[in-house]
Amino acid sequence: MLKIYAISKTFFPNTVNEVRALQKVSLTIEEGSFTAIIGTNGSGKSTLLNAIAGTFFPDEGKITLDGTEIINWPEYKRASLVGRVFQNPFAGSAAEMTIAENIVMAMRRGQSRPLRQAVTLSVKEVIAERVRLLKMGLEDRLDNPIGTLSGGQRQALTLLMATWLKPKLLLLDEHTAALDPKSAAKVSELTKNIIQQEKLTALMVTHSMQQAVDLSDRIVMMHRGQIVEDYRDEMKKRVRVIDLMETFDRVQKRELFDESVAALLEKQYV
């Protein structure tokens, strides 16, 4: 279970470029739940994910994962508990290394990696068996550099690597946004299957409201560094893309309701 208590982050404080990216955000993600975070550009959704991953330390607040306080842990230490898939399909793997070598690295995430041959025949068999489940024919190309694969294939492998050792938390940062529609659909389906089969706790940032509705069991909407809507349980079951659009619209309308509008309505709204 992930618990976030009132975390805040301000970039470039006390300058003209000050951005209050997170404003006392609190969120509890139950074990085994798949939560999608949606929001406009600059709403703070990726910043929240980065705060959880340890890319930076928040200015204030607490984060606990399975009861362990991790707020002061550096990113590499959190990686032992947190699996992560990035938007850029080339970011989660080493292009020059083979598929098998990349996966072997993921198989030992958070553990010691002594100097000895890692890709043995028996390991390769285990890898081939899991890679076959992707149904992309990659099990026959384990010795090819991963950089020779398409974005969709590479992202599917990154997803497999991030979940090879069941992470306490899986973070998906717009992980299908840079893929063509067909590959995005394939990776979305894989995501759903892996999370369901492994009963993972996952947090996904996405711009695709359809993806949020189809994949997740909870949708959190952010705006200006705050959570403005939280669709869960029965609410989540009946929410449709059009409802999310309307909520976005409402949030933005509220933003446009300034003092000049208040003065206008005072004169005309009776």
Partner: protein
Amino acid sequence: MLLTQEQRGKYLVIAANGRLDATWADYFADTCLDHIRNGHHNLILDAQELSFLSSAGIRSLLRINKEILSVKGSFLIVNSAPFVAKTIEMTGFKQWLSEQLPEEISTQKTNQLHSEVEKTETYVLNPSAMLTLSVVANWQPWQSLTPDKTYKLSFPNSVFALGIGSASDNFDEAKLSFGEFIAVGSHVIFQPPEVKSRPDYLIAEMDYIPEMIVIQALCCQGEMSHLFRFSPEERILSFTISEIIDLVFSTTKSNSVAFVILAEVDGLVGATLIQSPGQKSEKDIMPFPEIREWLSFCGDRLFAGHQALVFGIATRKESDVKHSLLRPLPANPEISGHIHAAVFPFQPLQNGKIDLIKNVQKFLNGPPPEALLHLIDDDRPIVGLGQSSFIRGACWCAPLQNKEGLV
């Protein structure tokens, strides 16, 4: 597929060149439906160059025919090749086929793609008809509410009303659900005051006459005296609400009027309650930003291409009818008014003289309303959204007979 159009009198002749099959059916239907939307309700399909017609093509013809029937227009297919004619006959739509153009059709091309209706055309319904305006309840923002300030209002056929009310039948429930409403021809559309809710409606049926508990209501009783139709021309692409009100003043030759508009929207500007005023316990002014918890402002010109049912009351400065619920319109401060609009998905209106109540019923029997707004004239410098405006439609109106002010 190549489509060319030619206006000939009241008919629009569409010549189709190519195959009307699954690839082109939607394009063909959408083009024709656009023409219907633009007021061309008598279509002739010249099928001389139509080389093929599939079931998908027949389906598109059915869509067009259905839309035309809803506005009491006409649809004919002329010059069909034998294969096309045979397909239409075998599928049971022989009535569309004609061997020749209608006798009354103009022999020459008339104005380019011009609607068959003029910019405005006026019909006198009952020259002596008038409406009596009464202020049934007079809640002013943000007074506290008690049962004695409410009124139970029923809506028989002769009542046109707008204001703030609730469909609940007792004050305790109603105080949580007061929102804007509009009532035309014993049909009431009301907006529950919640951020996420959509408008609801009450339709008169058999012995049932809708009722509401109202806290604010401007209620007109009587019948409409005039109907005028408006549609764009080359230089006028849309009509602002104050331009329509000016037309109402000149049509009725009165300085105080009530009107109902059914029209295609160019853009609406308005506000809606998002919390019931009944939940506010004290009388005070509503400062910013607290007011954002009570009212939602549109933030943009909304609902272009939708159809709106509008009811409003307007008076000129020199009129005897004055009330604090009638506020000056910034676009023309000589005019004071109060206007509500209910928004529906687009449905075409029949051309010419049409019946108000039947058309309101038609709208309420179709897809449900999407919004209800208290229209606002946003005159803020630079960022102002301006007035609500409409593209084409019908306006029923009548003078108010409140010679000695309000009753």
